[in-house]
Amino acid sequence: MKQWVLEGLHTGVKSTSYPKSEERAAGVSPGRPARPEAISWQEAEELQRRCPTGAITAHGGRLEVDYRNCVHCFRCARGSGAAMDWQPGYEWAYFTRRNTQSQPWPKSFEGSLHILVVDAGDCGACLNEVRQLSNPYYNMHRLGFFITPTPRQADILLVVGSVTGQMKLPLLQAYEAMPTPKVVMAVGACALSCGVFGPSFVAGCGVSGVLPIDVEVPGFPPPPLAILHGLLVAAGRKAPAPPSDVSTVEGAVAKLA
C-alpha cells in the first residue's frame, strides 16, 4: 500500500485552475463554429446547406448558429468554399427561457450540490465526459459537486441522451423521486434538440418534451469543462453564455437587391 501513497504524493496537484482562471491546455475542448466576420449571402446559404442538423440558418439577412443543434461535424469549417470561424472555449451553458432567475434554490445550497446522472439514450460520449469530471484534472468535488446514485438525495438531475421511448418512464420516475427544490440540466445536443437520432418512433427530441429544463449545456459531447460550467451556472456561481450566435450577413441586403 505504501507505494500507492507515495505514487499519489509524487503525482502532485493536477487540478485545473478553472473556474478561477481559464484552462488553456490543448485538446480540452473541440470548440464550436462562430459566424465569420464578412460573408456573402451566397456563402451564408451554402453554409446552411452544408449543416446536416439545421444549426446554421441564413434567412432575412441574418446568419444564426443555434448551438442546441450543433453536433461538431466540422462540415461548416472544413473542405472547400465558405467556412465558419471556429472559436475555442467551453463556457457554453445557459438558463432556458423557462428559468431566467440566476438561483433556483436557497443560498445555502450553493456550496454543495448532489447530482443524479441519467442516461436516457446517450451514445456514450456525453456520459464519458461526465465521468471525466471526477478525474484529478477536473475534480469537481473540490467545487462541492457530488454524484449520487439515488434520486432521493439529488438536487440536480443531469440528463444525457435523446430520451428514447423505453427510457422515458424511468427518467420521469427518477424526476418524481427527487425532493424539491430541484434543477434539471440537459447535457449534449441529443438532450437539447433532435440531435442526429431523432425524431423517430423510438428516439425523442430531447428532454424538453418530457421534463422542464433549467440549464442547458450544448455540445456533442460538451467537454468536461463545459459541463462543469453548466453546474456552476446552475449553482449561480458563473454567468451563463448566450445559446446562439446571431449576426447580420454583411452585404446580403445589397446582393439581394
Binding site: 503525482t11 493536477k14 446536416p52 443524479l116 471526477s134 423505453q166 427518467l171 437520432f197 418512433f201
Partner: protein
C-alpha cells in the same frame, strides 16, 4: 482463396442440388445459396463445427418479392467471407433456427424476431428483447418496409405490471433488479440478479432501453447523413465504426483510398484503441476501490482524450472519416508528435500495470472473478479482448486485413485464464501493441491527398473493422444516387453482452461492479 473454393466444392457435394455456390475473387467472398430452409441448420453446423468458421451475424433484407437472409461466416485463419444465403417468399413467417447448432446466433435471432416478425422454429426463447413487452405490443415489426409508426405508436399498450421471467425457483430465492438507472455514472441497463441472499446465482442483463432504431432511421438517408449515425451511435469507439461504414461505401463505389489516408486511418484507429483501453483500465481500478490507481488511470485517459483533441480537433475523433479518405490532414509533424505523446502515455500505463501486478489486495479482487471458459467463449462467438482473454485468438486486423494492416508488424495478445485479471492484462498488452503499430506509420506517410472523390452508385457491401471492443460489421446497401436502402450493424458489444451471464455466475454481490468493469462493454453500442 483456395480454401474458399475447396469449401464451396465440398458444400455442393454434401448437399447436391440444394446448395449452389458462387465465389467472388475480388473481395474475396463465397456465397452458398440454400434452396431449402430445412438444410440451413445443418449447413451452419458444418461450417462452424466441422470447418472452424466463426458466425459473425446475419443480415435480413426485405426485397420487393422475397426475404433475403444472409448468414455471415469467416475463418480466423483464412482471408475471405462466407455468406449462406436463403431466399424465401415474403409470406413466409417462420424459418428454422440455427441457434441449437450455432449458439452465437441466439440473440441475433431474437433481434430479428422482434424487429422483422420472423419466427425461428426451435428457438427456445423469443419475445421481449429489443422492443420491451411492457411498452410495445407483440405484433409490431418496425424493420418491415410497410411499418407505420403512427399506428404502432398509437396502439402501444404499456403494461406497468410486467415482471421479468424467473429462472431460479428455489425456496428463498428472489430476483433483485438493478437498473436501468443505478449507481454513479452508468449507462442504462437493467440487471436481473437471481439471488438467495448474499450470493448471486446468475445475472441477466435486460438491454435495449436505449434502442434508437439506427438501422431503421438510416433507410432513405443519404450516405453523408448516414455517416453521422455510423459515427455517433456508439461514440466511445466512433472512429472504428465510421471507418467500417466508410469502407463499405468505398467497396460499393470502388474507390481507391489514397495511401496517405489509409495510414492516417490506422494511426487514428490505434489512437482510439489506446484511449478506449485506458478508459476500461480506469473503470477496473475504480471498481476495485483502489483510488490512487483509479486516479492515475483517469489522468492517462484524460491525457489521451486531450491528445486526440489536439491532434484531430475532436476528443472522440468525430468528423474525420468520410467515404474516400479523411476530411483533414494533420500534417507530418503532428503525426510524429502524436506518436511520441501516445508512446509516453503508454509508458506510464506500463508503470501502472507493474504496480498493479504487485498489489495483492487488487489481485485478490480480480483473479478468478468473472471467469469465462474458453469453450463457452467460442460457442457464444465472443469477440475482441474478452474472447482473447479466454484463449480465442481472433483479430480481423490479422485474418481479414484492411487499411494495410497486413504490412504492419504487431502481435495479438492472448491470455488463457479467462478471468478479470486476464482481461486486464489483455487491455494493457493491446495498448502496447497499438503504440507499436502507430510507430510504424510516420515513415510510411508519403506526400499526397487524403481524400479521393467518390461517385455514388448502387450496390451492396460489407465493411469490417476490429474495433477496440472487437469485430464490428457494417452491411450497407445503396440504392440510386447514394441513398441507403439497408444498413445492418453487427457490433462487438451486442455479441459480447450475449456472453455476459457466463462471467456473472455464482458470485458475491460485491464482485458485481468488478465483473462488469472487467468486461468493458458498451450499452450504446448494443442498443443501436
Amino acid at each position: 482463396m483456395a480454401d474458399l473454393i475447396e469449401m464451396t466444392r465440398q458444400a455442393e457435394e454434401r448437399w447436391p442440388g440444394l446448395v449452389q455456390s458462387w465465389v467472388d475473387r475480388r473481395k474475396p467472398a463465397a456465397e452458398l445459396r440454400c434452396s431449402r430452409s430445412e438444410i440451413l441448420p445443418d449447413v451452419a453446423r458444418w461450417l462452424a463445427s466441422d470447418l472452424g468458421y466463426r458466425f459473425a451475424g446475419f443480415v435480413v433484407e426485405e426485397q420487393p418479392k422475397e426475404w433475403e437472409i444472409r448468414y455471415l461466416f469467416y475463418h480466423p485463419r483464412v482471408t475471405g467471407w462466407v455468406y449462406v444465403l436463403l431466399q424465401q417468399a415474403l409470406e413466409v413467417r417462420a424459418i428454422p433456427s440455427i441457434s441449437s447448432q450455432v449458439h452465437a446466433a441466439d440473440w441475433q435471432e431474437r433481434e430479428v424476431e422482434d424487429l422483422f416478425g420472423i419466427t425461428f422454429e426451435g428457438h427456445p426463447r423469443l419475445g421481449d428483447f429489443v422492443l420491451h413487452d411492457d411498452l410495445w405490443q407483440e405484433d409490431v415489426a418496425p424493420m418491415r418496409r410497410d411499418f407505420d409508426e403512427e399506428t404502432a405508436l398509437a396502439e402501444r399498450k404499456p403494461r406497468p405490471d410486467w415482471r421479468p421471467r424467473r429462472i431460479v425457483e428455489n425456496p428463498g430465492a428472489f430476483v433483485m433488479p438493478v437498473g436501468p438507472i443505478y449507481s454513479g455514472v452508468t449507462e442504462s441497463v437493467l440487471f436481473l440478479l437471481e439471488t438467495v441472499g448474499e450470493d448471486v446465482i446468475r445475472a441477466f442483463p435486460r438491454l435495449f432501453y436505449k434502442y434508437r432504431g439506427i438501422e431503421k432511421i438510416a433507410e432513405g438517408r443519404t450516405v453523408e447523413d448516414c455517416l453521422l449515425l455510423a459515427e455517433r451511435f456508439a461514440a466511445t469507439t466512433a472512429f472504428a465504426h465510421a471507418l467500417a461504414y466508410c469502407q463499405a461505401v468505398e467497396s460499393i463505389c470502388r474507390v481507391q483510398v489514397p495511401e496517405r489516408a489509409r495510414w492516417l486511418r490506422v494511426l487514428l484507429a490505434e489512437l482510439e484503441r489506446v484511449r478506449h483501453h485506458a478508459g476500461v483500465i480506469q473503470e477496473i481500478c475504480e471498481s476495485t476501490a483502489l483510488s490512487v490507481a483509479a486516479s492515475q488511470a483517469a489522468l492517462l485517459e484524460e491525457d489521451l482524450l486531450r491528445i486526440s483533441g489536439g491532434f484531430a480537433g475532436h476528443r472522440y475523433l468525430f468528423g474525420l472519416a468520410v467515404p474516400g479518405g479523411l476530411t483533414v490532414d494533420p500534417g507530418d509533424p503532428a503525426c510524429l508528435r502524436v506518436v511520441d505523446e501516445v508512446r509516453q502515455t503508454v509508458r506510464q500505463l506500463n508503470e501502472l500495470e507493474q504496480r498493479l501486478r504487485f498489489s495483492s489486495s487488487f489481485l485478490d479482487r480480480l483473479e478468478g472473478v468473472g471467469f469465462i471458459p474458453a469453450q463457452e467463449a467460442q460457442d457464444h462467438g465472443l469477440v475482441g479482448p474478452i474472447a482473447r482473454a479466454s484463449g480465442t485468438d481472433g483479430d480481423l486486423r490479422k485474418s481479414q486485413p484492411y487499411c494495410g494492416y497486413d504490412q504492419l508488424r504487431f502481435d495479438v495478445p492472448v491470455e488463457t485464464e479467462g478471468d478479470g485479471f486476464a482481461r486486464l492484462r489483455v487491455f494493457f498488452a493491446e495498448a502496447r501493441q497499438s503504440v507499436q503499430i502507430m510507430q510504424q506509420i510516420p515513415v510510411r506517410l508519403n506526400a499526397g491527398a487524403v481524400q479521393a472523390p467518390v461517385a455514388y452508385q448502387s450496390g451492396v457491401a460489407l465493411g469490417w473493422v476490429e474495433a477496440p471492443r472487437g469485430a464490428t460489421f457494417h452491411w450497407v446497401r445503396l440504392g440510386r444516387e447514394g441513398v441507403i436502402e439497408r444498413y445492418r450493424l453487427i457490433t462487438p458489444s451486442f455479441v459480447n453482452w450475449h456472453g455476459f451471464h457466463l462471467a456473472a455466475e455464482n458470485f458475491a454481490f460485491q464482485d458485481f461492479p468488478i465483473i462488469l468493469a472487467s468486461l468493458g462493454l458498451s450499452v450504446a453500442e448494443n442498443d443501436r
